[in-house]
Symmetry: C2
Subunit: 416 residues, 2 copies
């Protein structure tokens, strides 16, 4: 594509590309944008190095002129879009790239890979933190997904309200709070559970979390209290009927005076399991597989489409594919969230070719991210986390329903 368009000159036409999702994952009420900060970081570093250029050249993937063009690639256009943590809906213009065709078209895979993955994780994570009420959720899914996806997943989960991650690299790279736990292997390593618990408490202090289901839960809880006393931080349950066990363990802890010892539950939790545990004496949830795989929706299925481009006379023209089942809407988009007098979201309003009218209470959704190739807003993850909390709180209450349904607000177009 790039080679052919460079050869004819059309590669230098001014273009507008737009990333959006045609629909939310089946049955979801809202989605959560994440990865914007990672897109910007990747954009700043997006270069073709010697190894890459040699591969393209040696294998005749592209011609000499294209290799030369790639060698000096620097994005010099503008990017705007939804800020990280913002809720989104079908057709929301979550990222808009304005540049030449050549500069914008080669960003497609990068932009979509990051947004599709991180948004899928954040969208699932938000349902989990909503179901957990105020109880803390801990991301523990690194082992169930690609080693680099794991780091990004921990970051996205944090944006959507998770409190911490067991992925230390996410702590180092992005400042996500980290926490750890012991595995069954630790208990099994020792000749007895008593030796294992003693070693852990001596090394990490009485505030540590002891895993109590390697052998017999009741005996292990008694042992844990013997060793750490009333200051025992927490016990973790990782198997069996968590609601029944948590209730029994709570009673056992309370009866022995360990009122402040928390109960952390793990074991294939998803948003439904978390909701089902709401009535139980659970202090926190550790979530793994379901989180890092998007709880049934492992990709946000966003697409990146050319929606406007310069024509032969230099005029900008809206363009769109005509195929029956995958229609796109041509033209540059802007978006607003229409709010009622109480600040409750009513609709996603998308303006084509111009900003939609503000009804007075509306909130503009697009922020400037890159101007003339320079990143002007790096999207801090702590701000994104606060933004998500506010954005979710603004949605109608039906957004929190876990049952399958339609998007909680409609998407409305306003044309100029």
């Amino acid at each position: 594509m790039l080679q052919a368009a460079l050869a004819t000159g059309e590669a230098h036409r001014r273009c507008v590309f737009e990333a959006f999702a045609r629909r939310l994952p089946d049955g979801r009420r809202y989605g959560v944008i994440a990865g914007t900060g990672r897109v910007l970081e990747a954009l700043e570093q997006f270069r073709f190095g010697d190894d890459e250029l040699r591969f393209l050249s040696d294998n005749e993937v592209v011609d000499r002129a294209t290799v030369d063009w790639l060698a000096s690639y620097r994005f010099s256009g503008d990017v705007s879009g939804y800020a990280e943590g913002e809720c989104y809906f079908p057709q929301s213009p979550v990222l808009v790239v304005e540049s030449t065709f050549a500069e914008g078209v080669i960003l497609e895979t990068l932009v979509l890979s990051i947004l599709n993955h991180d948004t899928a994780i954040a969208s699932a994570a938000s349902r989990m933190t909503a179901a957990a009420g105020g109880r803390p959720c801990i991301e523990m899914g690194s082992r169930r997904t690609h080693e680099e996806s794991a780091v990004a997943a921990a970051r996205a989960a944090y944006v959507a309200g998770f409190d911490a991650t067991s992925n230390l690299e996410a702590g180092r790279r992005y400042g996500v709070p980290t926490t750890g736990t012991a595995a069954h292997a630790f208990t099994l390593l020792y000749d007895s559970e008593k030796e294992a618990f003693t070693a852990q408490v001596e090394s990490l202090g009485k505030g540590t979390t002891l895993l109590v289901d390697t052998y017999d839960v009741r005996s292990a809880v008694a042992l844990a209290m013997d060793i750490a006393g009333p200051e025992l931080g927490a016990v973790r349950l990782d198997s069996g009927d968590l609601l029944i066990q948590a209730t029994e363990v709570r009673a056992q802890l309370d009866a022995a005076g360990n009122k402040d010892t928390r109960i952390i539950v793990t074991s294939d939790l998803d948003e439904y399991a978390i909701a089902a545990l709401a009535a139980g004496p659970v202090s926190g949830y550790g979530v793994g597989t379901a989180l890092v795989t998007g709880s049934g929706a492992p990709t946000a299925s966003m697409v990146y489409k050319l929606v406007q481009r310069e024509d032969a006379s230099g005029e900008m023209q809206g363009v769109a594919k005509k195929s029956k089942d995958k229609t796109s809407v041509g033209g540059r988009k802007w978006a607003m969230r229409r709010l009622d007098g109480n600040g409750v979201a009513q609709a996603e309003v998308i303006g084509i070719g111009e900003r939609p009218r503000d009804d007075g209470d509306d909130r503009s959704l697009m922020v400037e991210l890159v101007l003339g190739g320079e990143v002007v807003d790096h999207q801090d993850i702590h701000e994104a986390r606060a933004r998500h909390e506010a954005s979710r709180a603004e949605l109608p209450r039906a957004a929190a329903q876990l049952s399958r349904g339609e998007p909680v607000i409609p998407t409305i177009y306003e044309e100029d």
Copy 2:
């Protein structure tokens, strides 16, 4: 865990860790191991650098003694396991790590992340290539998954029989054959479809693949033949009812004498859609989202368990968690595929504590991968691809059924 075990000395006990899946994804008949070569490459590079050590130290994640131990970390143990591309079943000991507790326990996340991701992709990919019969499958899903998962997914798909990928980095890094295509944006960039097709054919030759569904398929196919003539390489269909359209386009191509022009179909294909197109005049399949998300099973859900360790007297002891719903089987495992006289697989036979008896026709499944910290078999992906083809061909024919069912062969234990 590591800090506490280093403090008491148990961290230096000899241990055996085993990676395995308790079950296949729901309804699947077999799974396909992939990622072994990536695990070995990562193992060779597994070091804690200054940045990582400083993070652990500054944030008091672990104590000084542990930071010092990590600073000099080099894996010095042995690893054996299923060769890449091999089919696997519930409880198959796909990777066995023998080392001290400390050296082996910190590999858990790395080993599982790679195996769980790559195996999930290869397992889905194998169903697709089986459904495609001999027709080529092309991996085109990079945009729908994390940017690094995308590279690994292209590699895993190749192992499981895909012919090529659109991910150029997978070509550069692993030698996976690459291929490209034009997007709708390319056609939309030009003032007319004719100008777009002409530019592509002039730049890439008549053997290129033209995307014919941006406006009207019938007109586009006619235009493509006008421009490239009988040497037109292929046309691509990316929307609508692919079976009907492929049939119509084939007739149109044939009537005009373009007997050798191939028809490539894309658009949310999965193994079921591929199977449904078997009767159509389709030359190849481009597969995206369903492939890179494991077609409903985005993780292989493998676990990494301590199954044997030295006791206080220096004897090796089998160990296993006792929890009701997540029982593991203690002891070092070996595995064999039991074959009948015709070379058809009958069972996955797992020996605990010793190699299972060979019935004469059986095939040993474990290969040595690392000895004394040195990788002795790097798992070439082209060999892995041939191995997968042979391993799949050896399974009972019911393995190829796409309908949900039980694993196509049972897993049997032999104890010493």
